[in-house]
Symmetry: C2
Subunit: 221 residues, 2 copies
Amino acid sequence: MQIALLGGTGDIGQGLALRWARDTNHDVLIGSREAEKAAAKADEYESELAERGHDVDIAGLENAAAAAEADVAVLSVPAYYLSDTIDAVTDELDETVLVSPAVGMQRDEAGVHYNPPGVGSVTALAAKAAPDDVPVVGAFHNLAAGKLADLDADLDWDVPIVSDDADAKETVTALAEGIEGIRALDAGALANASEVESMTPLLINLAANNEDLHDLGVKFW
Amino acid sequence: MQIALLGGTGDIGQGLALRWARDTNHDVLIGSREAEKAAAKADEYESELAERGHDVDIAGLENAAAAAEADVAVLSVPAYYLSDTIDAVTDELDETVLVSPAVGMQRDEAGVHYNPPGVGSVTALAAKAAPDDVPVVGAFHNLAAGKLADLDADLDWDVPIVSDDADAKETVTALAEGIEGIRALDAGALANASEVESMTPLLINLAANNEDLHDLGVKFW
């Protein structure tokens, strides 16, 4: 399978790219608004993996070119770039599953707060911005990017997944579980995305307020 | 310490009462709108503990009488009874810490959704309804009541705690950690309560959508 990380030069994209390239046989494509930046990052990820004995090819392309190749495209951009990123690739989406991991947050003196867009969640915003025939899946909202990108760190985290498209959900579930230490969980329909997204500010607040906790993820039982 | 479970005849109150009575030396008081109902439940909890070899006294009282005795009063009532319950005990609160575990939720065909009151969270609603000098702490929102009340079940759950009052937060943290298998975590100020509360519908949706999961709690790492 071809996985494009749109905005894959950022932190969450880096972690997913490195781990998919290391743990699975999928082809990983790094997308960026600038092809050169994408290519440089792809080289950097390849080098890091090579140093660890993993000989993999990672391509770096402009976002639209990456999306054109992809079976699954992950919108690994901040929430405020989400709609623009979808607009930029929308003509290239052909049976491509779009994955939205972004969360809208706002900081004040008390900490970080969930700040969803008017449609209820960032995942719902992605669905609204995407063409009607493109399935949108919400996933990977609650992964600490730093730990995810640190290949020395063993993960043991759950990834709640929401979508209105059962096939797309199944595809992304399998992709998520391809990463060592990730368990994908079905969190229901797209309408349930806000409860998944709002866990991210909670994780940040918990890390800020508890001395021994940092780079938090979550496990349900 | 005297702990009153206001509305302690309900499911979350039952679990907390049984576990505090079993795992700590605190005095547990069951409160209800009807003293007789409270007394009957207190007897029932005592019997269950006696069968397991724990000889403890649990008192059952009308809510206001229980609050009058209490150092800490847990508002273990559904969200829509919260304000009425506080009103009914407000004259009895004297350096009493009020604890709010309730969550506002709404169900539709997609699952359960977080449905906070206009003030932002049920915990904030409790703070608004309580007298100004009564510290309010949000805690115990994310515990599966059935498993909590099943003394055969070993817990391994985190309890995020929010409050604007550092002393009250410390008191409730110690109380929470008195229960075997509970780790209390500081989730910051009362303004962070909605991110804690909104995890409860997520837990319910995850249990509904994943075959092997039920009675879910959460662990952060």
